[in-house]
């Protein structure tokens, strides 16, 4: 069985539905490569799943006559793999799959496509982000990074952020999708009524790939479709139905429907309440309505509190009723028209700061160990002053970075800089320099130490003596044994 998503994947950029402006931007960027290496050598294509980002990248290569090097999530994508495939490819001229030799002098290039680039940076792919940054700076060939969550990638690398052109793909319209589905079902010789097409397009909510897969799954082996065939498809994508639920809760005033929508939702009341909380002011414009809606929400919250305290989950149903029915009926009049419901800010902030919070905790525990106190105390009482000192005093910075064995992420956190910026690199460079100076001043270094030298992180064994500066007075050395106090940094 051939997947229709592959069979009907557009081969040319012009054949992709919707997204006229992003496609034009992409083409303009590609054409700028014909006259040399443009300033922005990489493009970040962002947007929701299934709307044609990868297809656009491949179609672009086809239009331009470029050879594609694709690295997607199923390939190993640690720093080494990225460097050896994308990195090597980015520097040299090209042989195509057919064995033809292409030279950049004729404008023939490789297109390096890193699919799902926001997923590269898990534990197993460590270092991948830096490798990509490096490649972008040095590449002689165009690079496309494809992401769903641009934010996740951007915060890890200022190089990527600063050197890539971002192009956002939007969802194709329902009518575009309907047209596409109609054309394909015609080619496949399946008779599909208009209402079925419309329904398929609607439930895909912009995800062309999903729409096409749905169509194939119900149409394959038939020559005629009816409305009832659609029910064979299950529900899809809960995050989309949350918005739908918001609409029902805020805009219908129907108690039962509001309650049911919460029951069918794959969200527990704990997070549903955040959604409702965040969206009340957007939905209800009358201050009195806002007031009584929050009144209901606070009652719901009381139940949630009881659930948590007593671990009595049967109380959830009361909380749910309060936050759905209650809020739904709290309004004094109907609010019509389209309301833009938003993702709860609180959840967003928590998830965005997740990495930062993690770094902060580790930092806290490192401080705690050295200051003989609890992690909580270290974060509360020590970290603020520590951070201040760290920013102000260069010597202190170098010595504690070594003493606490700080990683680049942690140094970045302390300096309020991204881990790959020069601020952070500078710290490690300086440490290396100090090493070199102290070694040349000291007695003959043995072989092994020499080898370790390029890796500053590994060098920082806790039991190792802190580095001395040359100009330091002799007597200081004697104190070394007692220097277990964190703030005595020499």
């Amino acid at each position: 069985m051939v997947e229709w998503t592959e069979k009907y994947r557009p081969r040319r950029l012009d054949d992709i539905i919707g997204n006229h402006k992003p496609r034009a931007d992409l083409r303009r960027w590609a054409e700028s490569w014909l006259t040399g290496t443009p300033k922005k050598r990489a493009v970040v294509l962002m947007g929701d799943p299934g709307i044609g980002k990868t297809t656009a990248a491949l179609a672009l290569a086809n239009d331009m006559g470029w050879q594609v090097i694709e690295m997607n999530a199923s390939d190993s994508r640690n720093a080494e793999a990225i460097m050896s495939i994308a990195g090597k490819g980015a520097q040299g001229e090209t042989f195509t799959d057919e064995g033809e030799f292409m030279t950049t002098k004729d404008g023939k290039r490789k297109l390096i496509v890193l699919d799902e680039a926001d997923n590269i940076f898990g534990r197993e792919d460590f270092g991948g982000v830096r490798a990509i940054g490096q490649i972008i700076l040095e590449t002689q060939h165009p690079i496309i990074l494809i992401v769903n969550d641009w934010y996740a990638l951007r915060k890890r690398s200022s190089i990527i952020q600063g050197n890539a052109l971002t192009i956002k793909f939007g969802k194709p319209s329902k009518s575009d999708i309907t047209t596409l589905l109609r054309n394909i079902s015609r080619k496949e010789g399946v008779e599909v009524p208009e209402e079925v097409l419309l329904k398929l397009a609607e439930r895909s909510s912009g995800d062309v790939r999903a729409a096409l897969k749905d169509l194939q799954s119900i149409a394959e082996g038939r020559d005629k479709l009816e409305m009832k065939n659609i029910s064979a498809l299950g529900d899809r994508d809960t995050s989309l139905t949350v918005f739908k639920s918001m609409e029902i809760i805020f805009q219908t005033g129907n108690c039962k429907r509001s309650r049911d929508t919460a029951n069918n939702l794959d969200e527990n009341p704990e997070s549903l309440i955040l959604w409702i909380d965040h969206n009340i002011p957007f939905a209800y414009r009358d201050p009195k309505d806002v007031h009584s809606a929050y009144e209901m929400l606070s009652r719901a919250d009381i139940f949630l509190g009881r659930v948590r305290r007593r671990q009595n989950y049967s109380l959830w149903s009361y909380a749910r009723d309060m936050m759905t029915c209650g809020v739904s009926l709290a309004k004094s009049r109907e609010y019509r028209g389209h309301i833009n419901y938003n993702f709860p800010l609180y959840l967003m902030k928590m998830s965005r700061s997740k990495g930062q919070r993690g770094i902060r905790e580790v930092l806290g525990s490192k401080l705690a160990r050295n200051a003989h106190t609890s992690g909580k105390r270290a974060l509360q009482d020590i970290l603020p002053y520590f951070k201040y000192l760290y920013n102000q005093d260069v010597e202190f910075r170098l010595s504690v970075t070594r003493r606490l064995n700080l990683t680049e992420d942690e140094v970045g956190y302390l300096l309020d800089a991204k881990p790959d910026t020069h601020h952070v690199r500078h710290v490690f460079d300086a440490m290396r320099k100090v090493d070199a100076v102290s070694r040349s001043g000291a007695a003959e270094p043995d072989e092994e130490e020499e080898k370790e030298e390029p890796k500053p992180k590994k060098r920082t064994h806790p039991e190792k003596e802190p580095t001395e500066k040359e100009e330091e007075p002799e007597e200081e050395k004697k104190d070394e044994k007692q220097q277990r106090n964190l703030f005595d940094f020499r």
């Binding site: 520097q91 040299g92 090209t94 042989f95 195509t96 064995g99 030799f101 002689q140």
Partner: protein, 245 residues
């Protein structure tokens, strides 16, 4: 159908050469021998290896394409003791390649070849031809490796040079006409190449004492050498590094 008996050294040579370029490949077997053509994942290098029937102790095949994983063959090679023979047979029913080494039978499932390309060696206009002792080039590579990660190949009517320039140091291997087996060059040409590719392919040229290089200016280099006591031949193409504009 594919059935063969081969000495481990020969198979090892083939595997070593091919794995400089790809991890998985398609082996095309015909009545007269096998051939492997592949482009590396970075699309910078290309290989075309042929091993005639005579390179095998016994050989029998109809046209068949076998998708193999080089690492798996290396595992088989590790099982072979000196003097052992390796027997290979294609199990068409289950699409496996069955190896026999000593008393061990290793059944290897084959890789799907449908997605694999079959590149043809391109027709390149390479005006320079040099035949040189492999050892000389290896020496030059060894010297360059500590200095830089790329290497320039320069040819002129007087001789051949390998130049590697790092930030602070440089290495230069100069072979005059008299030190080359053959030199055909009308005017000077120069191309820059990634050293690691160059180095890894030269490490595999074990039995061939000389290698033929065809070159141009900012153009690929084409290496030709023999394997398996002249029973096989390799053509290796490496694309030049793009020098920054």
């Amino acid at each position: 159908m594919f059935k063969a008996k081969v000495r481990p050294e020969v198979l090892k040579e083939v595997v070593d050469v091919v794995s400089t370029t790809v991890d998985e490949t398609k082996i095309t077997a015909t009545k007269t021998g096998i051939s492997i053509k592949a482009v590396d994942p970075a699309h910078v290098a290309m290989i075309d290896l042929t091993l005639s029937k005579g390179g095998f102790e016994e050989y029998k095949a109809d046209d068949v394409a076998l998708g193999v994983d080089m690492d798996k063959i290396k595992e088989v090679l590790r099982l072979a003791k000196p003097g052992d023979m390796i027997y290979m047979e294609h199990d068409e029913e289950r699409n496996r390649l069955v190896f026999k080494v000593g008393n061990i039978t290793r059944k290897m499932s084959l890789v799907d070849t449908t997605g694999m390309s079959e590149p043809k060696v391109p027709n390149l206009n390479l005006p320079v031809k040099i035949v040189v002792k492999t050892d000389e080039i290896r020496q030059g590579i060894r010297a360059s490796e500590s200095v830089s990660d790329h290497i320039a190949l320069v040819a002129n009517p007087e001789g051949f040079e390998m130049i590697s320039e790092g930030d602070t140091d440089s290495v230069n291997l100069k072979l005059g006409k008299d030190l080359l087996e053959e030199l055909k060059c009308k005017e000077e040409t120069r191309s820059l190449f990634p050293l690691d590719y160059f180095s890894s392919i030269f490490k595999t040229i074990s039995t061939a004492s000389v290698v033929t290089m065809h070159m141009g200016s900012d153009y690929p280099v084409k290496l030709e050498f023999s394997i398996a006591n002249e029973k096989g031949a390799v053509v290796y193409l490496l694309a030049p590094r793009i020098e920054s504009e």
